[in-house]
Structures are given as structure tokens and as C-alpha cells.
């Protein structure tokens, strides 16, 4: 049976932003559709409208010519629309089976039979009776998919499903999705990854700033054409020049361990690596494998053994972040809004968070506001932050501008080593380019970078050496020319 889903003139307005501006789209079963766009383009809003999480201000949705009233996620389920969110909605301590029957009113036995049938059909192998917390991300996602399939949906929506998957898990997922599609399930695939769109989908709808920009068949597109549509401008490609091989060691980590009291944190075991001057060491990995802990250990938010970190011939493992800054280290954490900056404070106040002694922001315990402001103005102009008002609260800066401010603040002390954690997470392509150029420039000035990132493309583009973190352990360090994203994927999944 053919399924036809129609979105007609949907508009959703938030204060200060039009998330969906009169969007109309039509989908038919038998094809896999990509909904492509940058962060903030309005994909998620549109998908949430389809799954009943958000109610649109205007517009209608038709499934096989029936006008759907989607006022809650339950309405979407009742109308055979299944949705797998980017972040899993599973109870970690319940078993897989308990998670699957939690919203079902059928008999346990009959559901179990159904699940077994589904698993057999699609070649899933998951133990139904172990707690979800023992599953890998890929398996958890399968549980979410099975949960949708139990209800034999007509439409299956996948929201950025590969952001937590390894390369191998991704190709397994794609196989399953193709199978579903052949069986007549209409699949809508949300992503900002162009490669995946080319690999998987039949048709692609591109969104930009809340508007639908284009709908086209994949065979008429290529990666460049899609990227330009997504961004709305022609992008220049940046390439890193091969760094001069230097053997001048800057930082050396020896037998570093961290055991956390918090069960939701990852322990670090036996970390060893070194970075030379002018080098960028990339650390890849699926998020949640100890990156955040590693960043904190390197920045000094978590203190470790004095001898475990040697920087510029000093042992600094037991020093605080502020003391490490004096040794010319700088840090750009992952969380811009809750850690690296305070949105409610003014731009120049955020600049003062990097209290490097010789910047003289504070003298004898007093605030030296003139000095801070002078520095802030310099950062704003040097790093292209799009404002001229340093009294502006940082919450009014876009993510890209805020990140430029943060990187600028960290670089103003001309540190020997910059440690950054997902520096381009959630930014638009223009800002990503700018940050990447900045990082390349640092290396060119013979300064070093440790780049912890979950974005493999970014790592391959910027790193001289790459290592992969998995469950708190680092893989051996490889030269980036010898590494492919496939190889990284295997290591990220925990294989050797």
C-alpha cells in the first residue's frame, strides 16, 4: 500500500526566530528522503511538528489525504508515525524487553513474539533480557527502531541517527533502512552530513533559515552542490599544509589515570602521549568515551599526579587551570554556554575569565576594567566577532561569534598549547571555516594544539597525528596521512 505524507504551508515562529517559514513538502513511500540543513535551519522543528511534540502556528499535515491533528506524541503514534530521536529515550536500568513494552497495552507474550519476528526478519541480534545500559549506542538505537516497528508504522523518521554511531554501525543502519523502505515504510532521514545523504537517500529537501530551499533527486546532485545549497554561498575549501616535522617535545603525558566517583563519568586508564611544537594531535572518539574527563585532566579542572603531565619541562599535573595558564596553556571547553562563557555577563566580563597574570586584568585584588575593555576590543577586531559593543551581554552573540570570542580570549595570551574540545560543535559552516583557519594558523606559528573532537572530518582535516579514545583508553597514535575515516570508525567502535 502506498503512503503519502503531505506537509502543507507549515509555519512556526519563536520569539526572535522563524523556525519554519511556510514549508510545504510531499513524501511518498518506497523512497528514502533526506531532510538536510545546518544546525538551526529548522529541520528539527519540522520533525517535531510531524511527531506531535510541537504544534505549528499555521499549516496542515495530511497522511493519505487525511488531515492529521497532532497535538501530542501519542497522536503521532496513533497515526502510524514513528520517530527515532537523536538522543535515546530509554530507561537505562530496565531490560530491553521492559523498555519495549513500556508503552504497549498488548499481552507480553504476543509482543515478545512480534519482537522476535522483527529481529529475525532484519537480522538484529540483541539480548532482550539484559539492562539497556549494557548495550552499545548502535544497539540502543536498534531498540528504539524496534519500538517503532512493533506498531508497524507507515512513516519512520530518523533524527541525526548516526551522530553516536561508528562507521560500521552506520552501514548496518543504512542496510536496515533500505530494507524498511523496500517494504513500503516511508523514511525521512534528518541530517547535516552530506556524505550520508549521497549514500542512502533517493530525494533530498534542503532547508536554510527556516525556509525550504530546494527539493531534488539525489542523482542530480553531488556533495558540492548540496553543500552550497545548505550554506547558501560558495565555500572555499581549506587545506592544511603539512607541518614541518619538529621533534621539539612540548607536552608529555605519562601513565595518567583518573578514577571517577561518579558512575556517569568515564574512568581514564593509562593515558600516554606527547605533542611536539607546531603539531596538532587529534583525539577522535564517540562522545561519552572519556573525552570530557580527558579535557578536564588536561585543563586542570581535575587534578592528577604531578609527574603525569610534563609541559615545557615542568611537571604540572597538580596545578589548577589558572596556574597552567601561566605556563602558557589555553583551554576551550566543549560547552560554550555553561562553561566557557557566561551568557548573562557582558562580553568584556567574559574576557576577564582568562586571568593571565601579565594581562593585568586584576591588580592587587581590584578589577582593572580599562585593561579588560582594551583587550576585549582587540579580541573583537582580531577575531572577527560580529559586534562592536563590548558591553553587550554574550547571550546575544551567535554560537559562532561566541566561539570566536572564546578562542580569541584564549589565544590573546599567545599560549604554546591550545586544548580544544569540539570547537565547532553546532556552528554554521562559515564559522566552522573561520575556526579551522585559526587553528591552522596556530600550528603555522609553531604552537601546538590538542583537538578533542567527535567530528572525524574535522580531525582528518586539522590533525598531524590522530589517536582514538574508547572507554577511557587511547589507541596508539597514528600519522594522519595513514588514517582513513573507516579505520577511525573501527577504532572508535573499540576494535583493534
Amino acid at each position: 500500500m502506498n503512503t503519502n505524507l503531505k506537509i502543507s504551508n507549515v509555519t512556526k515562529i519563536y520569539p526572535g526566530c522563524v523556525a519554519n517559514d511556510n514549508v510545504s513538502l510531499e513524501f511518498n513511500s518506497g523512497k528514502i528522503y533526506a531532510l538536510l540543513g545546518e544546525n538551526g535551519a529548522g529541520k528539527s522543528t519540522l520533525v517535531k511538528i510531524l511527531s506531535g511534540v510541537i504544534i505549528p502556528d499555521e499549516g496542515k499535515i495530511y497522511l493519505n489525504e487525511n488531515n492529521l491533528k497532532l497535538n501530542s506524541p501519542l497522536d503521532a503514534k496513533k497515526n502510524d508515525i514513528g520517530m527515532v530521536f537523536q538522543h535515546f529515550n530509554l530507561f537505562e536500568t530496565l531490560s530491553v524487553f521492559e523498555n519495549l513494552i513500556i508503552d504497549s497495552d498488548e499481552q507480553r507474550e504476543s509482543v515478545r513474539e512480534k519482537i522476535d519476528a522483527i529481529m529475525k526478519k532484519y537480522n538484529f541480534s540483541i539480548d532482550l533480557d539484559i539492562p539497556v545500559l549494557n548495550l552499545s549506542a548502535g544497539q540502543k538505537q536498534k531498540v528504539e527502531i524496534i519500538r517503532c516497528l512493533i506498531r508497524s508504522p507507515k512513516v519512520l523518521i530518523m533524527d541525526e541517527p548516526t551522530s553516536v554511531l561508528t562507521e560500521q554501525e552506520t552501514s548496518e543502519l543504512f542496510l536496515s533502512l533500505k530494507k524498511f523502505s523496500e517494504e513500503g515504510i516511508l523514511i525521512i532521514y534528518i541530517t547535516h552530513k552530506l556524505k550520508e545523504v549521497m549514500q542512502l537517500c533517493d530525494e533530498v529537501a534542503v532547508m536554510r533559515r527556516g525556509k525550504l530551499v530546494s527539493v531534488s533527486e539525489i542523482k542530480n546532485e553531488n556533495i558540492e552542490s548540496l553543500a552550497n545549497k545548505m550554506v547558501g554561498q560558495n565555500l572555499k575549501t581549506i587545506k592544511k599544509k603539512k607541518a614541518k616535522t619538529s621533534s621539539d617535545q612540548l607536552i608529555k603525558i605519562t601513565n595518567l589515570n583518573f578514577t571517577s566517583e561518579d558512575p556517569f563519568e568515564t574512568n581514564l586508564t593509562d593515558i600516554n602521549f606527547s605533542v611536539n611544537r607546531g603539531e596538532c594531535l587529534g583525539i577522535a572518539g564517540i562522545s561519552g568515551n572519556g573525552q570530557s574527563e580527558l579535557f578536564q585532566v588536561l585543563s586542570g579542572e581535575i587534578i592528577s599526579e604531578k609527574n603525569s603531565i610534563e609541559f615545557n619541562n615542568n611537571y604540572i599535573g597538580d596545578l589548577s587551570p589558572q596556574e597552567r595558564r601561566e605556563y602558557l596553556m589555553a583551554f576551550s571547553p566543549e560547552d560554550r554556554l555553561e562553561q566557557a562563557a557566561i551568557p548573562q555577563m557582558k562580553i568584556f566580563e567574559n574576557v576577564a575569565l582568562n586571568n593571565f597574570k601579565s594581562s593585568n586584568f586584576f591588580n592587587n585584588g581590584l578589577i582593572n576594567e580599562n585593561k579588560i575593555k582594551e583587550h576585549s576590543k582587540k579580541i573583537i577586531s582580531d577575531f572577527n566577532v560580529n559586534t562592536d559593543n563590548i558591553e553587550l551581554k554574550s547571550q546575544f552573540l551567535s554560537g559562532g561569534n561566541l566561539q570566536k570570542l572564546i578562542i580569541g580570549r584564549e589565544l590573546i595570551t599567545s599560549p604554546d598549547l591550545l586544548i580544544c574540545f569540539n570547537p565547532t560543535w553546532g556552528l554554521d559552516v562559515g564559522a566552522i571555516n573561520y575556526i579551522h583557519e585559526t587553528l591552522i594558523k596556530i600550528n603555522e606559528q609553531n604552537k601546538s594544539i590538542i583537538l578533542i573532537s567527535t567530528d572525524t572530518d574535522e580531525l582528518l582535516k586539522l590533525s598531524d597525528k590522530i589517536s582514538v579514545i574508547h572507554k577511557g583508553k587511547l589507541s596508539k597514535i597514528m600519522n594522519s596521512e595513514e588514517v582513513t575515516s573507516e579505520k577511525l570508525g573501527i577504532l572508535m567502535g573499540g576494535a583493534n
Partner: protein, 354 residues
């Protein structure tokens, strides 16, 4: 139709307007309560808010009550600004009073200019010691400072109780639960003949000036502000979190202790069971009503002090229980929290849409 819209940015004018709105709503609600109780609302409000401060004596009483409130609230704002929830100022006040009272009793038959400074200092130290308990437990054992500081209030009151009926009770006092009167050298000088307002007000004013300077001009103030917004950021910036927690608790304890000294060496002149009508708790309302801003706290302490006086006048002239004062304090906080909604949302009146 009325529509509620999120503000892009909390407006600064609204930030200072909502406390005024809260006070206004408290007056309206108070009038309504009086009306239900069978009083003429305007007359009752007049007895409550105007009669008590209509003469010189009343005004002196207002400042007398506002002094400890202001002092404690200034101290508390050091804690509250930096994300430390000290709600045990009443205990720190009591313990400060105990220590300074003990020192004053040591000197009970002596006179000398040096006595008063020692007594005042003892009070500040007492308050600091008592505030250091929740601070140290929080920093080294991860306890919750709200619970610890609150429970210590009752401990301090029991200690005071024990001392005034037991070892420190006045030997010539016919077993009344009180100590001897302090000597004149251990008392804060009165500012005007016949009025009770005493030199303690200068301590409060000094605290206002110093705190303003610390909050807005020093590195410590900046660190407190950052910690108040995000402890994660404070950690990332490398601030010494433990040191700061202890420091703000000590400052806050010292202020509460000084407020205790002001009471026992001022209007009371001895230790007895009830040295504070819950100033330490009411000061929490004062701190928030004053928006944790030193100048705001001055106004807030005056407003809240009236509720103490008004309750007494209302009891005398209208036979309303003096606990009405606490009802009014509660209403102020209630309406303040409610009107804070306006900080983030605005109400729009728009025509009916077809």
C-alpha cells in the same frame, strides 16, 4: 486578549520595578485581609505602616530594627551571590551574641574604652566560627549547607537557653532566665538622648559601603559573580572554589554576629532567651527584596522593618496579633517571587483576532 510573551532580555528597569510592585501587591492583599477580619482596610494599613513611624521616636525605632536586618542581609548577599545558600544567619547571630555576651560579662564590673571593641570583635568572631561549620562541612564533606546551617540555628538557641538559665544566669536575678546587665563600657553608645537608636547603625552603613566596593570593584566580587552564574565556569577559570565558599560564609557569619552584638549591647543590654525576633530569617527576605544590591538592601531593610513596628502598633491599637507582621513579611516574599515572572515574560494586550 492577553498574551504572555517571553522577553528577549530581562529589562533592567523591571529588575528594580518588581520589588516595588511586590510591596504594592502586599499592601493590597494586606488591606483585603484586614477587610475580611472586619477592620477598615485603609485605617488598618495606616496603623500598620504610617502611625509607627510618624514621630521621632518611631523613626528611631525603624532604624533600630532596620540596622540588624541590613547588616545580616549584606552578609547573606555575599553567600547568595556566589551560589552558597546560608540560611542559618539567625544561628550565627545567636552564637555571635553568646560569645560577645560572654566577653561582656567578663568585664561586668569594669569600665574602659577598650571593652566595647573587644566585645564587638568577639561577636564577629563568634558569628564567623559558627558560619564556618556549614562551610567546612560543605567543602570537605559535601554536605548540604542549607540543612546544616538551618539546623545549627536551633542548636545555638538551645545553647543560649542553657546559658541564661544555667551557668550565666544573674545570681541576683531571682531565677529569671537572663544574665546580668552589661556595664556601660560594654554597650554601644546611644546617638540621641531618649531614643534607642545606637551606634550599631554605623556598622551597617560601613557594611553597605564595603560590600558595594567588594561586589563591583574587586577580583573577589568578580569571582563571586562568576560562581553565582556557573560553578562549572568558575572551576574552568581556575578559581579556588573551596577558599571562596569558606570566605563568603565567614563574611556572612561576621555580619550576623555583629547584628547580634548590636542587639545585646544596644537596646537589650544583657543576654536573655529572646534576643532576636528572627532577624536572621527575615534578612533573607530583605536580601532578595533588595536584589542582593547594597543600596537595594538599605531600602528593603527599611520596608521590612516597618512590618515589625506595624505589627506592634496594630496589636496595641487594634488588638490584632503581632504575628500579622510575619504574614506581611511572607506576603512580600511571595509577591516578589511571583512578580519576578515579569523579569522573563511580558504581558501583551492585543485585540481579539478573528
Amino acid at each position: 486578549m492577553i498574551k504572555i510573551v517571553k522577553r528577549d532580555q530581562p529589562s533592567r528597569a523591571i529588575f528594580f520595578f518588581t520589588p516595588v510592585l511586590a510591596i504594592f501587591l502586599t499592601l493590597v492583599a494586606g488591606g483585603l485581609i484586614f477587610f475580611i477580619l472586619g477592620f477598615k482596610p485603609f485605617e488598618a494599613l495606616k496603623f500598620f505602616f504610617i502611625v509607627p513611624i510618624a514621630d521621632k521616636y518611631g523613626f528611631s525605632e525603624l532604624l533600630l530594627k532596620a540596622t540588624p536586618l541590613c547588616l545580616i542581609a549584606i552578609g547573606l548577599s555575599f553567600c547568595f551571590k556566589s551560589n552558597n545558600w546560608n540560611i542559618g544567619a539567625e544561628g550565627q547571630l545567636t552564637f555571635g551574641a553568646i560569645v560577645s555576651g560572654g566577653v561582656a560579662l567578663l568585664f561586668y564590673e569594669q569600665e574602659g574604652f577598650y571593652i566595647l571593641p573587644i566585645v564587638i570583635l568577639a561577636g564577629a568572631i563568634g558569628g564567623m566560627l559558627y558560619a564556618s561549620i556549614p562551610a567546612i562541612l560543605k567543602t570537605y564533606f559535601n554536605t548540604n549547607e542549607i540543612l546544616v546551617s538551618l539546623m545549627l540555628v536551633y542548636v545555638s538557641k538551645l545553647i543560649l537557653d542553657y546559658l541564661v538559665v544555667g551557668p550565666w544566669s544573674n545570681p541576683e536575678g531571682f531565677n529569671f532566665p537572663e544574665t546580668r546587665q552589661f556595664s556601660d563600657s560594654a554597650k554601644l553608645p546611644l546617638l540621641f538622648e531618649g531614643l534607642r537608636i545606637h551606634a550599631g547603625i554605623f556598622l551597617a552603613l560601613a557594611a553597605v559601603v564595603i560590600s558595594w566596593f567588594v561586589f563591583y570593584k574587586t577580583y573577589l566580587g568578580f569571582q563571586m559573580k562568576v560562581s553565582g552564574f556557573s560553578l562549572k565556569t568558575a572551576k574552568y577559570a581556575g578559581y579556588k572554589g573551596k577558599k571562596m565558599i569558606i570566605l563568603v560564609f565567614l563574611i556572612s557569619g561576621a555580619c550576623a554576629g555583629l547584628a547580634g552584638v548590636g542587639e545585646i549591647t544596644g537596646p537589650i543590654g544583657q543576654l536573655h532567651r529572646e534576643i532576636s525576633p528572627d532577624y536572621g530569617f527575615t534578612a533573607i527576605i530583605v536580601a532578595f527584596l533588595g536584589r542582593l544590591h547594597p543600596v537595594g538592601i538599605i531600602f528593603a531593610s527599611l520596608v521590612v522593618a516597618i512590618t515589625y513596628l506595624g505589627a506592634e502598633t496594630a496589636q496595641i491599637f487594634m488588638q490584632i496579633p503581632k504575628y500579622t507582621g510575619q504574614v506581611f513579611q511572607g506576603m512580600i516574599l511571595f509577591f516578589l517571587l511571583a512578580s519576578d515572572y515579569l523579569l522573563f515574560f511580558k504581558i501583551k494586550f492585543i485585540g481579539l483576532k478573528k
